[in-house]
Subunit: 143 residues, 2 copies
């Protein structure tokens, strides 16, 4: 009769909603993994590892575990290869796309090096919902 506590789930710091969200995604790596899942179509451990920010493999393992525990990510064996594992975003993760888009928009405004996707930054301001729909559609096409 002992309540099992999942060590990968955060302990709540307050009942503020901003704080709640930060308990899950308030660090330098979690949203980058979600970015790779939601925007870049990455599905394998090796793909996340290969991202430009150079995440360490032990940190990536831990973040994926936390994301699975938080039900933001689903982990399942790759049907095409018995040694591969597939990670995919859940609806709860898809629902974070607007957060990511707002971060991109903000960076587009203040990051001096941000050129490549400046067009996207404009579109986010002018037609946000359409951009969200587009990203979601691209996600659906992959599954």
């Amino acid at each position: 009769m002992n309540k099992e506590v999942n060590k990968d789930l955060p302990t709540r710091r307050s009942n503020c909603s901003v704080s709640y969200a930060l308990d899950y995604i308030g660090d330098k790596w979690t949203l980058l993994v979600l970015r790779d899942l939601l925007f870049n179509g990455k599905r394998h451990f090796r793909d996340f590892l290969a991202s430009d920010e150079n995440i360490a493999s032990n940190i990536l393992t831990q973040r994926l575990k936390q994301l699975v525990a938080a039900e933001l990510v689903l982990r399942r064996p790759d049907p095409d290869s018995r040694r591969s594992v597939i990670y995919e975003p859940t609806a709860k993760a898809v629902d974070l796309i607007p957060v990511l888009l707002e971060l991109i928009r903000w960076s587009g405004k203040y990051d001096p090096q941000f050129r490549m996707t400046a067009k996207l930054a404009r579109r986010i301001e002018e037609d946000r919902d359409a951009v969200v729909a587009e990203v979601v559609a691209r996600l659906g096409a992959k599954n």
Copy 2:
């Protein structure tokens, strides 16, 4: 002729825009300080300290320094009291309101304890821009 490096500014991990934003706000505390500044009208060290999440004073000091270095926050002496310091958000911080609102909306959807501001959550979905304008207006009224 030596370039001074501000130790309070982050080092960039990649030229991704999501990563850029996380270099500044990717931790458990920074956005909570901004929440207090942007939503709760807090302006003094003691007020941030008193928030429900119980930030340690040394961490708060560090975060405020980083926010000032990042030009998200302005620090100035309180004209009403010689021992008080006033912290206030810059336009760059105000521009993060949509990010915060999306976090609140997301929590409103997945946080089982989130009742108090469920009405707000609905409004964010239906009339986002008006909510942003409202928060900004409330900010302006204070200065």
